[in-house]
């Protein structure tokens, strides 16, 4: 049953990405990725990370994609052919990406059948993660909030329309 779920979710994920690649419209590309990220969130849940799963869905599928869509809408885009005119480049990039994949798989080939141990109860629960974040990983936590602040301010300033003199 879990296996089925896994393959379904994987299909959804990969399908979304393929949709992103294949569509000619930037808006469509962005939209294709939303279910993809959501499926990814579900996969996180499968792996015993309920908190992370929710965070992924809320932030990525929800906020980040919406942000993308906003920007897409701000920029008038002409639909472009998704396959570039430079055939050689295209071919080469596909080949190299495939090589990358091959390498990754190869490096994993040894452990292809390892199974995971049964997840302990409450593994990945909010409480556990929260404790971790506020004790051992307090510094990164606080600094991350600064990062967000900086990004906020930075994005605001960058995107502001210059007042004409």
């Amino acid at each position: 049953m879990a296996t089925l779920l896994f393959f379904l979710l994987s299909a959804l994920c990969v399908g979304g990405i393929l949709g992103m690649i294949l569509s000619r419209n930037a808006a469509y590309s962005a939209l294709c990725l939303v279910p993809s990220f959501a499926a990814l969130g579900a996969l996180f849940g499968l792996l015993g990370g309920p908190f992370i799963a929710v965070v992924q869905v809320i932030i990525y599928a929800g906020a980040v994609m919406v942000l993308f869509l906003f920007v897409v809408m701000m920029i008038p885009l002409r639909p472009a052919p998704s396959f570039p005119k430079r055939k050689a480049f295209f071919a080469l990039s596909v080949v190299l990406a495939a090589c990358l994949l091959a390498l990754i798989v190869l490096s994993l080939s040894a452990s292809l059948k390892t199974s995971a141990a049964a997840a302990p109860e409450g593994f990945g629960g909010v409480g556990d993660i929260g404790r971790l974040l506020f004790t051992d990983l307090l510094y990164p936590f606080e600094i991350t909030s600064l990062v967000i602040l900086a990004a906020l301010v930075g994005a605001l300033i960058l995107a502001k329309k210059k007042k004409s003199p």
């Binding site: 480049f89 080469l92 990039s93 190299l96 990406a97 090589c99 990358l100 390498l103 190869l106």
Partner: protein
């Protein structure tokens, strides 16, 4: 007190440095003062050191002062060391004494010249180099001085370098010197091989102990003499000396009459232990000297340029000095060097005075009757002419006679005859010069005549001094006929030059030889008066009778042209060819080609710099794959 001799070269060196670096910013008077003072100080120090030599000190051998250890490579070592003995004393006194007089003269002669400071700086530098040469205690330091005087000669001949003739003359002098120097250097090398070092004391000891074979001595002697031919303008390397007259006249007096050109003679005398071991080398020296003496004298007979007559005369007199050394009479040769320094520089300076009076004229044909206008100059020139012609009781007579007597008594009759021939011609052409310039009809250019004036005291006083010396110096070495042991000069040099080197003849023969020398001198003078004393047609008649012979001699036997065709031009054309075929095409080609290759490679690689992010990302990916591949596989 005795040990100050090493300061002698250093004073002019300091003067040269100061004047050459700062001179142009100094006032003229300061330059004159400094330039003359350093040489005067050197002269006084030389005098002091000379006086310190008298008595037992002379017998102990030379004093040596090592300034610092310079070269030390394996078996070879040479220090910068100076020495002071009798021979050095004579040379140093001549160089600094005559040098000082000429410096003073130059203050007047070079007044108004643009590069006044450079002149005195170079003159000081020359004095320094020459002193280094004569005070060296080994061949290496001698060679440094040898090269130094060659360099200064080049710089001073071409002093007015904007004149193409002067620049070319300087080059010619330097190149011919260099040819001789190549042989000289080889001689030094062989000296090191056969003797094991270049210190004079070592050479002397080795030669006396029999450590040097005749063959080796001959080889070394001939090679060194070849170098001397270049420096002292003997056959076949003499052609630079007449051209060197392009330089200022005081330079001609100092360098090309009294000092630099005598360096070769000094060298032979200094190495007399070596040369005495090699009869063939000495033979060569004597014969070359004799032939050169006659050869140069013939050319002096027909020259129309005052300075060129004197130049050929110098070459001829140097030949005499080498005759002296070549027959084993080294002290006679040095004695002639000594007296010649006085009367030849006197003649040059007087000629300079004439030129100065006539605003630079030097052609005989445009002079005449000048004794009325330039009495002092005339008197000086007369003294010099009489001295060089070998008129009895003047210095030239004693020194020339000493040489000729030695030649005869050594059994070298051929050389003796050549010497007599040269002596006749010397008397003849010198009096020809005197008569044409100072006597007879005036053939002056009216412009020049208008500005005619006797030279200022700063120029005439040196003339007087040199004239006095030309008269008196001869009495330092009287022939045996006048009494025993009157050769004070020879005795003084005895510590360096063994007295036995001079052969002896009977008193009667000596009187005859004296008579021969005198006759020869008077013959020459008489002929000169015959030809030029009153307006005659004899010279022109002779020219008409032997036109081809005349033009041959007048054109200096076309030696320069032959050298040009056989040596200079092929070399130039060869260089040109090498330049065009090799330097331009191969070397420049390689260098430029490398540059072009690099540029090409750069442009080739430039294709990768598209400025597009995606291309760079692709490159990144490729790199990543390579790294991962290495790690994984």
């Amino acid at each position: 007190m005795k040990d100050v001799f090493w300061l002698i070269p250093l004073l002019p060196a300091a003067g040269a440095l100061g004047l050459l670096v700062f001179g142009s910013r100094l006032h003229r008077a300061a330059v004159s003062f400094v330039g003359c003072l350093t040489v005067l100080a050197s002269f006084l120090l030389s005098l002091l050191s000379f006086l310190g030599l008298s008595g037992e000190a002379a017998a102990q051998g030379p004093q040596i002062k090592v300034l610092f250890d310079w070269l030390d490579a394996g078996r070879f070592s040479a220090g910068l060391s100076l020495q002071f003995d009798a021979l050095t004393a004579v040379m140093a006194l001549v160089v600094t004494g005559v040098g000082f007089v000429i410096h003073v003269y130059s203050v007047g002669y070079m007044r108004g010249d643009r590069s006044y400071a450079r002149y005195f700086g170079l003159l000081n530098l020359f004095v320094f180099s020459m002193l280094l040469l004569v005070m060296a205690s080994n061949m290496i330091v001698l060679f440094i001085g040898w090269e130094g005087v060659g360099l200064c000669s080049y710089l001073l001949i071409g002093f007015w370098f904007e004149k193409p003739a002067a620049a070319a003359a300087g080059k010619k002098a330097f190149i011919l010197n260099r040819i001789g120097d190549a042989a000289f250097l080889m001689g030094i090398l062989f000296l090191f091989v056969h003797v094991g070092g270049t210190e004079f004391r070592l050479i002397e000891r080795t030669a006396l102990d029999g450590g040097l074979g005749t063959g080796a001595a001959t080889l070394i002697g001939l090679l060194l003499f070849a170098g001397a031919c270049g420096k002292s303008a003997q056959l076949p390397l003499y052609v630079w000396l007449p051209d060197a007259m392009e330089g200022p006249t005081p330079v001609s007096a100092l360098i090309h009459a009294a000092t630099m050109v005598t360096a070769g003679v000094y060298m032979v005398a200094r190495l007399n232990p070596l040369y005495s071991l090699s009869p063939p080398a000495l033979q060569t020296v004597a014969v070359v000297g004799a032939v050169t003496a006659v050869f140069a004298a013939t050319m002096a007979l027909v020259q129309n340029d005052i300075k060129r007559v004197l130049a050929y005369s110098t070459i001829s007199q140097l030949g005499f000095m080498f005759i002296g050394c070549g027959v084993g009479a080294y002290s006679a040769g040095i004695f002639h060097l000594f007296t010649h320094a006085f009367f030849k520089s006197l003649l040059f300076l007087a000629a300079g005075s004439v030129m100065h009076a006539l605003s630079g004229e030097l052609d005989l044909r445009r002079m005449g009757g000048l004794r009325r206008y330039l009495p002092l100059t005339y008197a000086a020139f007369l003294v010099g002419t009489v001295a060089i012609s070998g008129v009895p009781f003047f210095s030239g007579f004693f020194s020339k006679d000493a040489i000729l007597t030695s030649a005869f008594s050594a059994g070298r009759h051929f050389v003796w005859v050549l010497g007599l021939l040269a002596a006749v011609m010397t008397a003849f052409y010198m009096f020809r010069l005197l008569l044409r310039v100072f006597h007879g009809r005036e053939r002056l250019d009216p412009e020049a005549k208008a500005h005619l004036h006797e030279s200022p005291p700063v120029m005439t006083v040196p003339l007087i001094v040199l004239a006095l010396l030309s008269v008196s110096a001869g009495y330092l070495a009287l022939p045996a006929v006048f009494g025993k042991d009157l050769d004070r000069f020879g005795r003084f040099l005895g510590s360096v030059i063994p007295a036995g080197a001079d052969a002896h003849v009977s008193l009667g023969t000596e009187w005859l030889l004296l008579l021969a020398s005198t006759t020869v001198a008077l013959l020459g003078i008489g002929l000169a008066f015959l030809f030029y004393g009153r307006p005659t047609v004899i010279p022109e008649a002779l020219v008409r009778k032997f036109p081809r012979l005349f033009s041959l001699v007048a054109n200096k036997y076309y030696v320069d042209e032959v050298y040009g065709a056989v040596i200079v031009n092929p070399l130039l054309r060869g260089s040109e060819a090498v330049y065009r075929r090799f330097d331009l095409k191969v070397i420049d080609g390689a260098v430029n080609g490398t540059a072009r290759l690099t540029a090409l490679a750069g442009r080739g690689l430039n294709v990768l710099q598209t400025g597009r992010v995606r291309d760079y990302a692709l490159a990144l990916l490729s790199g990543l794959l390579v790294v991962l591949g290495v790690l994984v596989l």
